[in-house]
């Protein structure tokens, strides 16, 4: 099916068809739209109506018309798992693919205002690895970049170096929150003090901080929570989950729109649970197998010419008052 046909299909089915929760959000339509996302379709929910456009159709538009069509209140992009320093068969040149991800970000039809990096910035927590990522990301148009650490960023020193580089204004192991145009962003750390046999962990101190951080907020405030390891149980056998995330999610139940953005699993995955949309980004370095489809969650080798098609970024557009965020995953091609 060509992209043009798909966007036509989207328009024919874009009235609010399923409103079981009576809240104006067509979740089934949203999920349908998300399924197209891997091909570079752009979905926006506006006025309860789902619209989708192919990236190529957007590129053909007059810039003013395009800006109007795609106007969201807030745009940002998520990149993840750059693993600078990795050099094995699955990708001998992770710097090149990170540069390709930056090019992708810079080429987005609506420029993101800032970037979120959901961790595993480096592969071995080496200073030169962090330095290289910093150099490459300097080429990205968005100058504000917010980070949370992955387990590869806190080796040897329990995260001291990460905090020195990225932890200004954060608490504990590096958690923090900030606001952008009325959307409340929360960066969480679930990769330190990991217990034998366990999954990711947030810890009591961080959970208490989270509870207090969201307490004064109105339920209508849209939330974006980002952390490295998934905050839902993707595949516990491989450590793809967080032991104490249920408690964190309880503090977020009152909010009408919560988007959780994670990394760690090096593939895109999404799940909607009530008002919470969970989404994981692809890596910019190497893919990993789907849950249970291999002996272990190690780097997955693909033919060199296919590598860029299994790496990617996530573009996020938020339209005020319209519940869900438009989440678009693009591969590096």
């Amino acid at each position: 099916m060509s992209l043009k046909t798909m966007s036509q299909a989207a328009h024919s089915g874009d009235q609010l068809a399923y409103d079981h929760n009576h809240d104006g959000v067509d979740r089934r339509g949203f999920l349908k739209c998300m399924a197209w996302a891997g091909t570079g379709a752009f979905c926006v929910i506006r006025g309860g109506v789902l619209r989708s456009y192919s990236m190529s159709r957007l590129a053909e538009m007059d810039p003013k018309e395009r800006a109007k069509e795609m106007a969201g209140e807030l745009s940002f992009a998520q990149i993840s798992d750059s693993h600078m320093g990795f050099n094995k068969a699955a990708n001998p040149d992770v710097a090149a693919t990170l540069k390709a991800a930056v090019d992708k970000v810079n080429g987005l039809a609506v420029a993101p205002e800032f970037l979120l990096h959901t961790g595993d910035i480096s592969h071995l927590s080496k200073p030169e690895e962090f330095d290289t990522v910093e150099q490459i990301l300097k080429e990205a148009k968005p100058k504000d970049i917010f980070y949370v650490p992955g387990e590869h960023d806190v080796l040897n020193d329990n995260g001291q170096q990460f905090l020195e580089r990225y932890g200004k204004g954060s608490k504990g192991a590096g958690w923090y929150s900030f606001d952008k145009k009325g959307v409340h962003f929360i960066g969480l750390v679930n990769v330190v003090n990991l217990k034998a046999g366990g999954l990711g962990t947030l810890g009591q101190e961080q959970l208490e901080w989270l509870e207090n951080d969201v307490k004064p907020l109105q339920p209508s405030t849209p939330l974006v929570v980002f952390a490295h390891i998934p905050l839902w149980s993707v595949y516990p056998e491989w450590g793809w989950g967080t032991d104490d995330s249920a408690q964190a999610l309880r503090y977020l139940r009152k909010f009408g729109s919560v988007t959780v953005l994670n990394g760690h699993i090096h593939q895109t995955m999404q799940k909607i649970e009530g008002n919470i949309t969970f989404h994981t980004a692809a890596s910019t370095a190497f893919p990993q197998p789907a849950p249970g489809k291999a002996d272990s969650p190690g780097p997955m080798k693909v033919p060199a010419e296919q590598l860029k098609s299994v790496l990617g970024i996530t573009d996020v557009n938020f339209v005020r008052g319209k519940q869900a965020l438009g989440l678009v995953d693009s591969t590096l091609e």
Partner: protein, 120 residues
């Protein structure tokens, strides 16, 4: 004369026999002791192999990371008895277990990877 010669011969044979009995066992025991001093664990595919290693007290265990992802060897006990630096592919870590006991450990980067050393 013959009797004393025979006796001498018998004694000589006996002495030789005695030394033959004592010398090799000393070498065998030494070699056996040397073998017991070392053991190996391979890290691959997000797992420690063997997952349970049983060794005599005094053994030095060497872990080698054959995986294409870094791992650590971290004692699960509190306080920690041992913790390796981060081991990239082909890097090694060794620890000598002097006392009998069960020593569970895990990879601090991928905590689902667990194993133990039983020292007898």
């Amino acid at each position: 004369m013959r009797r004393s010669v025979s006796f001498a011969v018998l004694s000589a044979v006996g002495l030789l026999g005695m030394s033959a009995l004592t010398a090799p066992p000393r070498n065998l025991a030494a070699r056996a002791a040397q073998k017991a001093q070392r053991a190996e664990v391979k890290i691959d595919n997000f797992s420690f192999g063997p997952a349970t290693l049983t060794v005599p007290a005094g053994t030095t265990v060497t872990w080698t990371n054959r995986d294409d992802i870094p791992h650590t060897v971290t004692s699960s006990d509190d306080p920690r008895l041992f913790k390796s630096k981060v081991l990239d592919t082909d890097e090694k870590f060794s620890f000598t277990f002097t006392n009998a006991g069960t020593y569970p450990y895990f990879c601090s980067i991928h905590p689902k990877m667990t194993a133990k050393v039983i020292v007898e």
